[in-house]
């Protein structure tokens, strides 16, 4: 198939036939001769000193090859690394070991690793290890942990405050002085468990002789794993190969360096045998990082016409028991640069406290900081509307950044939004929902005593991470450019090596479409390769909705280098000068004389036989490019949610859901729709279904899918989607990114609808999760008043 433009073609995903017929090759499918299975014994206590570990009975059990404790690993592997440390935040990174040495600090903290012939035997032996604990007082909630006298997790982190970040712009105090309306609101953004379909795991195989470590693992960023693993184990980067090709979902939970991968690697090196470790689901719930968990206090200054002139945010982020690899950057930079959302608010001040508690560590989770910020600002807009008795869409319009104001620099100047037209998406969403008729329907419903609500979310988000200099300035321990190699073969087929690392997003298809657009090569002749650090130049992986905008741009630039070289070779073969030819869907022909042509295949073969090359042109067609974006990208949109609440049970049913999104130019509309669908489901689920619950002793009560409610296909209605296209001016294809937008947008849309539904009862704000019991309790109490 050859398209004239890389945009707009909903070809079926090339990855899918393999994946849905059981021919995928996931980490757990790796079977190596002599492979052993590892099981990790984990602490059942949230905070305790390890008094003694008796492995004698376990070691004697059948099939057991070795047992390691934290003490055994201290000299073999460094602590779990924290690679994003925002500057000027007084950050204190506590030492957190892959297996606890003398203190366990959360339920699930690893205490011993058992290696046996198979996993069943390893689990039997783990159950026979006798650990004596001296329990310590536990603190679970970030506000409690900051108080004087609270249990301290680490001596090096007083009051459990690991960092304090501040970002501000304009004159917030003056804004509050002159405001017509000021008010405060506390918002809770509750903790979530990512629940990728595939849990985390690794197969580590250290080879005697070559001293090479081959590590299959479920990571979103294999090069980062290679980089950090070499720093943590002193195995040189040249001797580490990380493979992560088929991955069953990531959602941010597979970015961080995982203790399990590190342990498996050094044990493999110690025993010189391959070691497999795969989390089971209940292990995943305590051992893989969680998402969100903010308590945010906002103060708002507004004028009576609805304009918001000032915003003060104090955020308390629960980091869990240690600082995970990317974790500190999430509630700081990613949260604060989107604090003012789609709105022109000139005076904004944000303070963020990262607090350690005896819970599983938190890190990025679909949206990473932007859902928390968007939930906050979108609730603020509705609160302003409610308090001033204005329509919530009019308040939004009053505050929108105008479409001619881009690039738009936020109050602090930290970043500039690339492009946007916010009125346009809102107009379209209101048209689709028939807003006037909807409000009439609501009036009628309210007259009947029904709880019927409409909620909006006119969001922006920051993605396409990121200009490397900006990343460095933000304390990110690496660059955020991306690499691509476009390698044409003598037979005219093309391999693309990309440093991005999808976990199901579809780049195996969309990148082929992009390349097809640049070089005219049929999609079926293109191989997209990711997830092998031996084959692929340095890259930074897939998260932050960066793969298409950054990785795709690298691909395009590399492809253009190939194109330019092909034109030179083609011209030479046609015996004309390079200025006299055009490159047209893969072939090179003389301008105005299309019959004087050399095909893609002819040029490829010529380049590799090199029998007749132009002066100054080397053999081969193999070009690489490292693309460093000059700007982040800023998708935006307008979502509308209509809910009705059943008074008897408190259950909020979504009646309609409209989403109009602008993600820049769209390569494959079906794949983009798919990302929006999945994103919306995750965002709605946070509002009404999912909550990670800890009791005061640090026990995870929602410890399995019996109690943690993830959405099913039947949970929500069909969505109504539409799109506008406002290209990003800063990359060659005008791409923005879509992986997280649905999630960022939807949580506030449904919460605003639920609050709107409850407003006849005098409700102005309602915290998540809006579970049936919590809504019923509110309705019940209100009835009693």
């Amino acid at each position: 198939m050859v398209a004239s433009s890389p945009f707009g073609s909903s070809i079926k995903r090339r990855e899918d036939p393999r994946l849905i017929t059981g021919a995928g090759h996931y980490t757990d499918d790796v079977r190596l001769p002599g492979m052993l299975s590892m099981a990790i014994l984990r602490s059942p206590h949230a905070h305790a000193r390890i008094v003694n570990i008796d492995t004698s009975a376990a070691k004697a059990m059948p099939g057991v090859v070795a047992i390691y404790t934290g003490a055994d690993l201290v000299d073999l592997v460094a602590p779990v690394p924290c690679a994003w440390q925002p500057k000027n935040s007084d950050i204190k990174v506590p030492e957190y070991r892959p297996l606890a040495v003398d203190t366990v600090r959360y339920v699930g903290d690893g205490v011993a690793a058992v290696v046996a012939e198979n996993r069943y035997m390893a689990e039997d032996a783990a159950a026979a290890i006798n650990v004596q604990y001296d329990t310590l007082p536990v603190v679970v909630h970030q506000l409690d942990a900051m108080k004087d006298g609270a249990p301290q997790l680490y001596d090096s982190v007083p009051n459990n405050v690991a960092f304090h970040f501040h970002l501000e712009g304009g004159d917030v105090d003056a804004a509050f002085q002159k405001a017509d309306l000021t008010f405060k609101q506390r918002l809770v953004n509750q903790r979530l468990i990512p629940n990728a379909m595939e849990t985390r795991g690794a197969v580590a195989s250290y080879q005697r002789g070559s001293n090479e470590l081959t590590l299959w693992c479920t990571t979103q960023n294999p090069h980062i794993v290679r980089f950090l693993m070499s720093l943590c184990t002193n195995i040189p980067e040249t001797q580490i190969r990380v493979l992560s090709q088929d991955i069953g979902g990531g959602f941010g939970s597979k970015i961080a360096m995982q203790a399990g991968e590190m342990i498996a690697s050094v044990i493999s090196k110690d025993l010189l045998r391959p070691i497999k470790w795969m989390e089971d689901r209940s292990e995943n719930y305590v051992s893989t990082t969680h998402g969100r968990d903010h308590v945010d206090d906002v103060e708002v200054a507004a004028m009576k016409d609805g304009r918001v002139v000032g915003l003060k945010v104090t955020a308390y982020a629960n980091m869990g028991a240690y600082l995970s690899t990317a974790a500190p950057g999430v509630p700081t930079w990613l949260f604060t640069v989107t604090q003012s959302g789609a709105y022109d608010i000139p005076n904004v001040a944000s303070d963020v406290y990262g607090v350690l508690t005896n819970t599983t560590a938190t890190d990025a989770y679909r949206g990473a900081g932007r859902p928390e910020a968007t939930y906050l600002i979108e609730r603020v807009m509705d609160l302003v509307a409610k308090k001033l008795n204005l329509d919530p869409t009019e308040v939004r319009r009053k505050n929108f950044i105008p479409s001619d104001a881009f690039p738009y620099s936020i109050a602090s100047g930290a970043i500039a939004y690339d492009s946007g037209d916010y009125d346009k998406t809102l107009d379209r969403a209101l048209e689709m929902i028939d807003y006037a008729a909807l409000r009439k329907e609501q009036e009628q419903a309210r007259a009947e005593g029904r709880l019927f609500g409409v909620g909006f979310s006119t969001y922006i988000e920051v993605c396409g991470l990121a200009p490397s200099a900006a990343a460095g300035a933000m304390g990110f321990g690496g660059g955020l450019y991306e690499s691509a190699v476009v390698r044409v073969h003598p037979t005219g087929k093309v391999t693309v090596l990309t440093g991005i690392n999808p976990q199901g997003q579809g780049e195996g298809t969309t990148f082929a479409q992009l390349l097809n657009g640049e070089l005219g090569v049929p999609v079926e002749d293109i191989e997209i390769v990711w997830g092998d650090t031996d084959r692929i130049p340095m890259g930074w992986g897939t998260y932050g909705s960066r793969s298409t905008a950054v990785g795709g741009s690298a691909l395009v630039f590399a492809a253009r280098k190939v194109r330019d070289k092909m034109m030179k070779i083609g011209a030479h073969l046609l015996e004309v000068s390079p200025e006299e030819v055009v490159f047209d869907q893969g072939s090179v022909h003389v301008k105005g004389a299309p019959d004087q042509v050399k095909s893609f295949g002819e040029i490829a073969l010529a380049a590799y036989t090199a029998w007749n090359m132009p002066e100054g042109v080397t053999p081969g067609l193999d070009e690489s490019y490292f693309f460093d974006p000059v700007s982040n990208t800023f998708p935006f949109g307008a979502h509308v949610c209509v809910v009705e609440i059943d008074k008897d049970s408190g259950k909020a049913d979504v009646r309609r859901y409209v989403a109009v999104d602008d993600v820049g130019n769209v390569i494959n509309p079906m794949i983009v729709d798919g990302q929006i669908h999945g994103g919306i489901a995750q965002g709605l689920a946070q509002a009404v279904l999912e909550t990670a619950v800890y009791d005061d002793n640090g026990q995870l009560l929602s410890g399995t899918m019996m109690d943690y409610a993830i959405p099913k296909a039947s949970s929500f209605p069909n969505y109504e989607l539409d799109r506008t296209v406002t290209p990003c001016p800063f990359n060659p294809m005008g791409l923005k990114g879509v992986g997280e937008a649905g999630t960022i947008a939807s949580t506030p849309a449904i919460m605003n609808a639920i609050v709107d539904a409850l407003s006849p009862l005098g409700v102005e704000h309602f915290d998540m999760p809006a579970s049936p019991q919590r809504i019923w309790q509110l309705v019940h109490e209100q009835k009693g008043n």
Partner: protein
């Protein structure tokens, strides 16, 4: 999610099952396995042996029985849904089977397993209580029939002896002008019943309620009859007001379970709400 080791038997007759139960006091019968295996995978249950009754003849099939229905103990929920006999005679059983778990569970889970396991949130204990079912069991002392009102004793505890196996569950032909319904408020995570109410209401020639059996599952440690509601309904006209008033009594005297999704007060409230809904639907069907 890795169970500890166990022995595995695959008997080919009911007598062999009973013998194996006698010889293996730490053994468990496995049919569909969708309640037992998750517990074993979490190592919360560790039976020394599993006695797989999948090939024991005489335990399956749904047959018409004097106008009523007899279910082999190993009948799956999916078989119940697809059975013409059930759809004609006891459609509430198909209705309830349709809201159990999900497709995979419905293809494996069995009616006999459901009642023998006696999970407080299972659906069928309430349905069978409302239907006044009879449970046939076979043990070392031969066969006996247990009335459903005597079957559920406590959480996960029935009146079955340790060496007995449920072989068949039978329901008599419903009286004329009987309507039945099952209304369930599903747990958002597990799909079990936070509250599930099964109602069987019979109307007399005068249009008033002549008999009612209302059973509630999910709310408390075992499925129970709502005796207060039943008494309040019998002899009354089945108006919306009377049904509502009767339903208010459904939570009286009950012990309620609680978890992070539904505490005791909320469960008590849902009990009343879903009792009202189940009765109203049953009445509508009895009248139709």
């Amino acid at each position: 999610m890795y169970p500890s080791a166990f022995d595995y038997f695959r008997p080919s007759s009911v007598d062999e099952v009973v013998k194996l139960l006698q010889e293996n006091p730490e053994g468990k019968i496995i049919a569909g396995g969708h309640s037992l295996l998750p517990m074993m995978k979490l190592r919360l249950a560790a039976p020394a042996s599993l006695i797989d009754i999948g090939r024991v003849p005489g335990l399956d099939g749904i047959r018409s029985d004097n106008g009523g229905v007899a279910f082999g103990a190993r009948t799956t929920y999916d078989q119940i849904i697809k059975s013409d006999v059930v759809q004609q005679t006891l459609p509430v059983a198909a209705e309830a089977a349709g809201v159990v778990g999900d497709i995979q569970v419905r293809n494996r889970g069995t009616i006999g397993g459901s009642i023998a396991h006696a999970d407080p949130a299972a659906d069928f204990p309430a349905v069978l209580l409302a239907l006044d079912a009879k449970v046939n069991a076979t043990g070392p002392n031969g066969q006996r029939t247990i009335g459903i009102d005597d079957f559920f004793v406590d959480m996960f505890t029935t009146s079955l002896e340790p060496e007995e196996i449920v072989t068949e569950i039978s329901v008599a032909k419903p009286a004329a002008k009987t309507g039945m319904a099952y209304e369930k408020f599903s747990h958002p995570a597990s799909g079990y019943a936070i509250v599930g109410v099964a109602a069987s209401v019979t109307l007399g020639n005068d249009g008033n309620v002549s008999a009612a059996r209302i059973a509630i599952t999910g709310a408390g440690p075992i499925a129970v009859r709502a005796n207060g509601t039943e008494s309040a309904l019998v002899g009354q006209a089945p108006t919306a007001e009377n049904v509502k008033a009767a339903a208010q009594k459904a939570s009286d005297g009950m012990t309620f379970l609680g978890d992070i999704h539904a505490g005791e007060e909320y469960r008590a409230h849902l009990t009343r709400v879903f009792t009202e809904r189940a009765i109203n639907k049953a009445v509508e069907r009895a009248q139709g």
